[in-house]
């Protein structure tokens, strides 16, 4: 089976997502952010700008906890935390 998109590949990662997000973008900053580069740099496709809702959709349950979004955030206003103990990813092949 050949996996191409991140959603397919993420099926191979053991994960127990929390019910609340550990990633909280600043709504106002996202709205005025020109590049919204979190959408590109994230290896798990967590961020998706939704025009109709005028906000950044955060699929935190897909997060690989790498921190690329935190580094890339132009406004440096993303609240980025590790998931609570017992939640998040568990790599077996890292």
């Amino acid at each position: 089976m050949e996996y191409k998109n991140t959603d397919e590949k993420l099926q191979t990662v053991k994960s127990s997502p929390d019910v609340v997000s550990h990633l909280v973008p600043n709504k106002e900053d996202c709205r005025t952010c020109e590049n919204k580069s979190c959408q590109y740099v994230c290896p798990a496709g967590v961020y998706e700008w939704t025009d109709w809702d005028d906000r950044m959709l955060v699929k935190f349950e897909n997060c690989l906890e790498c921190g690329a979004c935190r580094v890339a955030c132009d406004k440096q206003s993303l609240v980025w935390k590790y998931p609570k103990a017992g939640y998040g990813i568990t790599y077996k092949q890292g």
Partner: protein, 431 residues
């Protein structure tokens, strides 16, 4: 030891943290290693390889007992264009320097050794902040509790929110950090050994420069494990932003390259993973200590990005921080002045000296990414295409055409600039 006070707390059970923990346990000190994953290695990912030194100084029995995948006896350097590749391969069957491991197994094995020697290990513990009293680090705050120690060693990885909290690190710069993505692809042992031309148990490390990361500061890699192949790449975050590229798309393109696809053909994806890589090198190393605190490994940006070494530097820094902690405990002095000895010791290591040697390399490559990472890889491939071609056109005309194209694409001014930059690289390294 009172209920919640110990000699040393280490935040993070990666290669740096556990090297520190085992060194302290061996010296009979009370040490607590906290790890946010459900086991050591659960949150970790690397290329990757560990190295003979300083591993054998920390785990003397590792070659016989540790979960090693393969001993890397072949090193390949691939310069890729869109459809072609020039590969240099070095093989030394006697080499015992570099080993592929899988972090979930390796880190777990290492922490078990530390526990055997008396370290206290606490997985599934997320440290939210450091407890600071009068500018001195005196403990950690987890989601549930507070713990105190004479010294806290920060081995909390590249994102080190704790080093940032106490001002040892600034916000990470997107030009100094790469995002690494990797796929571990399952293949039978015999097929791996056939495809990579390996003897039983030996491994191959491949580094890839050029397509699909043409003109982008980034490198691809392939490592062989026992029954799987790890393929991935690391790309600077500022480059992904600039070119609006996702790391996963680049990885898919790398896997489809005609010279790479046959190596992983028919394999099944075991796991996809991602992790940041500190790429800032020497110029990004922060101050390594403060009152009651030392920083080690990726948390201190200790990666030699020219030789792709990180785990060895991490272990070394962990070991030296622990040795300093032992002296500090004996003198009952946990001041920044006392702990500065760690930085002094680290500056005497070959690892620090190597990082210094290469301090400008990545910046020069990054500033000249078009010529170094696109134009020349392409021209090297075109040269071999011309050299191996057979037809009715005289070779002399082919040579002339090649040179004409070369100068047309990169004018004399550009070529002179490249020569100067190449010279700068060499002078920078050798001076």
């Amino acid at each position: 030891m009172t209920a919640n006070k110990t000699d040393v707390i280490i935040v993070g059970a990666g290669v740096a943290g556990v090297a520190a923990g085992i060194t302290l346990a061996r010296a009979g000190k009370q040490v607590v290693i906290v790890e946010r994953g459900s086991y050591a290695g659960a949150k970790n990912m690397f290329g990757g390889a560990i190295y003979d030194y300083p591993t054998k100084d920390i785990y003397p029995e590792f070659k016989e007992k540790a979960p090693i995948e393969r001993v890397n006896k072949t090193h390949r350097y691939m310069i890729t264009d869109d459809e072609t590749a020039v590969t240099v391969s070095y093989n030394n069957e006697k080499s015992q320097t570099s080993y592929t491991v899988i972090r979930a197994k390796w880190d777990k094995w290492c922490v078990e050794r530390a526990v055997e020697l008396g370290a206290y290990y606490s997985p599934m513990t997320v440290v939210r902040e450091l407890i600071v009293n009068d500018g001195k680090v005196v403990g950690i705050k987890t989601d549930e509790e507070e713990f105190f120690a004479d010294i806290v060693i920060l081995a909390d990885g590249v994102n080190s929110t704790l080093a940032k909290q106490i001002g040892l690190r600034e916000n990470l710069k997107d030009s100094e950090i790469a995002v690494g993505v990797k796929e571990v692809i399952s293949l039978p042992k015999e097929i791996i050994e056939e495809r990579f031309n390996l003897t039983d148990g030996s491994g191959c490390v491949t580094e890839i420069v050029g397509a699909p990361m043409k003109g982008i500061t980034g490198l691809g890699f392939i490592y062989t494990n026992k029954n799987s192949v790890s393929i991935g790449l690391g790309v600077n975050i500022d480059e992904l932003k600039k070119h609006k590229l996702t790391p996963n798309d680049l990885l898919n393109q790398l896997k489809e390259h005609p010279s790479i696809a046959p190596l992983i053909k028919g394999g099944e994806l075991l796991e996809y993973s991602a992790h940041l890589i500190p790429e800032g090198g020497f110029n990004s190393i922060p101050k390594l200590y403060g009152d009651g605190v030392m920083v080690v490994g990726d948390a201190a940006m200790l990666v030699d990005n020219v030789h792709w070494e990180g785990t060895n530097i991490a272990m070394m820094s962990g070991m030296l921080a622990a040795q300093t902690a032992i002296e500090a405990l004996e003198k009952n002095d946990f001041s920044a002045k006392m702990l500065s000895l760690y930085e002094k010791k680290f500056k005497e290591t070959s690892f620090y000296k190597d990082m210094k040697t290469y301090k400008d390399v990545v910046k020069i490559v990054h500033d000249n990414s078009y010529s170094f990472l696109s134009f020349y890889p392409q021209k090297i491939n075109e040269f071999f295409e011309m050299f191996t071609e057979s037809g009715y056109i005289p070779k002399k005309s082919l040579y002339k055409r090649f040179i004409k194209n070369f100068v047309k694409k990169r004018n004399i001014k550009g070529l002179i600039k490249d020569v100067i930059n190449f010279a700068k690289l060499f002078i920078g390294v050798l001076k």
